[in-house]
């Protein structure tokens, strides 16, 4: 009986810390201040989207959907079509991926599955550093090494490749490879060679995660500015050859923004920025979804 009476009498003491009391403790103040800072992140992001939308209104109304299908980019005649830039962006990003994906996945398999722990720790450290190299330096190397090598041929994809390697090793690493370790050991003991077990068990297991990291890398490659601007040749033409000059969305913004001849020109450039934003937004969304799916599946299997 005594025990039952103490329970209700205890709860008011802990539960009735009034708002005023908590205010005096500083909890509410701290909560409010930190909330304001957290909210400002959301605010700034919304503002960014609004600003892009609002600042490109003129161009959006004038050209409508035609903006995406017109090949002419003529600031003097105020004719603006985004097609050459969209084409150039997709081509450079795809080239970068074609070069980077096999290398990245190969390196990731080696680091996660095959290298001894100490070696892979060391290599991973250097690959992280490689990711920290700013893109203007890739552009510098591209300008003075690759472009002269190809003379007038330009292949911007190449420079962008290596910066994205870590993106592949990163997520693929954590996401699926390691959880499959046990299955791998069983496969090997059943008579599979080391490579067969890696390729047929671990890689399919991590497939969605790998795909996710590819999307992530694609988003980065699409928005890459400096490395591309410095080597792409900056010519708004659509060419079937990978080795002729082109132009990308980010590069045209970088080159023409400060020299825009009029409001419409500026707004057309901002609309290009909006297009770039939406593209990367979509790709990032898909990538995150794929990575979440993989890690949940990985966790489930590990538990089972």
């Amino acid at each position: 009986m005594a025990a039952t009476t103490t329970v209700p009498s205890a709860s008011p003491i802990s539960g009735s810390r009034s708002f005023l009391r908590r205010l005096c403790d500083g909890d509410e103040i701290a909560r409010l201040i930190t909330f304001l800072f957290a909210a400002s992140v959301v605010l700034v992001t919304l503002l960014l989207i609004l600003e892009l939308w609002h600042s490109s209104a003129l161009a959006r109304h004038k050209f409508g959907l035609q903006f995406f299908f017109t090949r002419v980019w003529d600031p003097i005649a105020e004719q603006f079509g985004a097609l050459p830039f969209i084409y150039g962006t997709l081509v450079t990003a795809t080239t970068a991926l074609v070069l980077a994906v096999p290398l990245g996945i190969g390196a990731a398999i080696f680091l996660a599955e095959l290298a001894p722990a100490r070696l892979s720790d060391g290599l991973e450290f250097f690959i992280d550093l490689l990711a920290a190299v700013p893109s203007v330096i890739y552009g510098l190397l591209g300008m003075f090494i690759v472009v002269p090598l190809m003379r007038d041929y330009v292949q911007p994809g190449l420079k962008k490749t290596l910066g994205f390697l870590p993106l592949f090793s990163g997520p693929a690493y954590g996401v699926g490879f390691l959880t499959a370790g046990i299955v791998l050991a069983i496969m090997v003991s059943l008579g599979a060679t080391r490579w067969e077990s890696t390729w047929k068990v671990v890689v399919p297991f991590a497939r969605t995660g790998i795909l996710g990291s590819i999307f992530l890398a694609l988003a980065r490659a699409l928005g890459e500015t400096m490395a591309v601007t410095m080597v792409i040749g900056n010519t708004p033409t659509i060419s079937s050859s990978l080795f002729s000059p082109g132009y990308s969305i980010a590069a045209v913004i970088a080159n023409e923004f400060t020299e825009a001849t009029g409001d419409l020109h500026l707004q057309a450039l901002i609309e290009l920025g909006l297009v770039l934003f939406l593209l990367t937004f979509l790709l990032n969304g898909v990538a995150r979804l794929l990575i979440v799916v993989t890690s949940q599946r990985g966790g489930g299997t590990a538990l089972a």
Binding site: F35, V41, M226, M230, G273
Partner: protein, 283 residues
Amino acid sequence: MSPRLRWRKFVSGLMLTMTGVCALVAVSVLFFILGYLVYHGGRSINWDFFTKLPAPVGESGGGMANAIVGSAKLLLLASLLGVPIGFLGAIYLAEFSGSRVAFVVRYAADLLNGVPSIVIGIFAYALVVLPFKHFSTLAGGFALGLMMIPITLRSTEDFLLAVPRALREAAMALGASKWKTIATVIVPAAYRGILTAILLAFARVAGETAPLLFTALGNRFWSPGWNQPTASLPVAIFNYAVAPYEDWHRQAWAGGLVLLALILVINIVARAILARGVAVPRA
């Protein structure tokens, strides 16, 4: 050993070697970049490079003093914007928020993190350059600060969440209020991680060029105060590289070397801080 098995072993060995080569190529690229920059830029790095203004076109010599100071000012502004918002926002996410608010904030931060840097530049142009009517250090610092926010926020939050629950409960049980727990127990326990997060975010924006092109613009002279266009190391490298003068190219290499060295050192220091101790002290 049957031929079939021998073939399988051969394929296995071959592919394993190939993955090793992939890893090796990736790593050697870093050393190639570093070596190439040292080879081409090393000779142009002298006292003048750090202390003199750029020489007029046609004259040799001169340095990038204004770009180095400009970069320092821009990064100071960026840190003033990015670190408080990232750090305090992360405290809110890790300690105070409900799951729904946290989801919205995290989503916004990830979105912001994914925005191409050139688009951040457009945003800073519209928000800071247009109202003030000219390019400025302020606008460049704002653009870089925006990029620092999501990086600092997300990794600081991770480190805060890694602090064991027992530490929180112990502090609360001693009667500490929530904010006191945060200020005296949780943040000190996670400080190595938080410092690493801030340093990595700093290193990341230190090399950013695209958002500065039409916010800080560039300047061949000193930029007094905060409301003038300013030179910065990455933009100077870009401008010097695309210019047709041999002497400027040498300066670009030197600038690239200084920038890369700075960024690599910060990265290594940040990782060393994290590796030196477990983020959470064992009581």
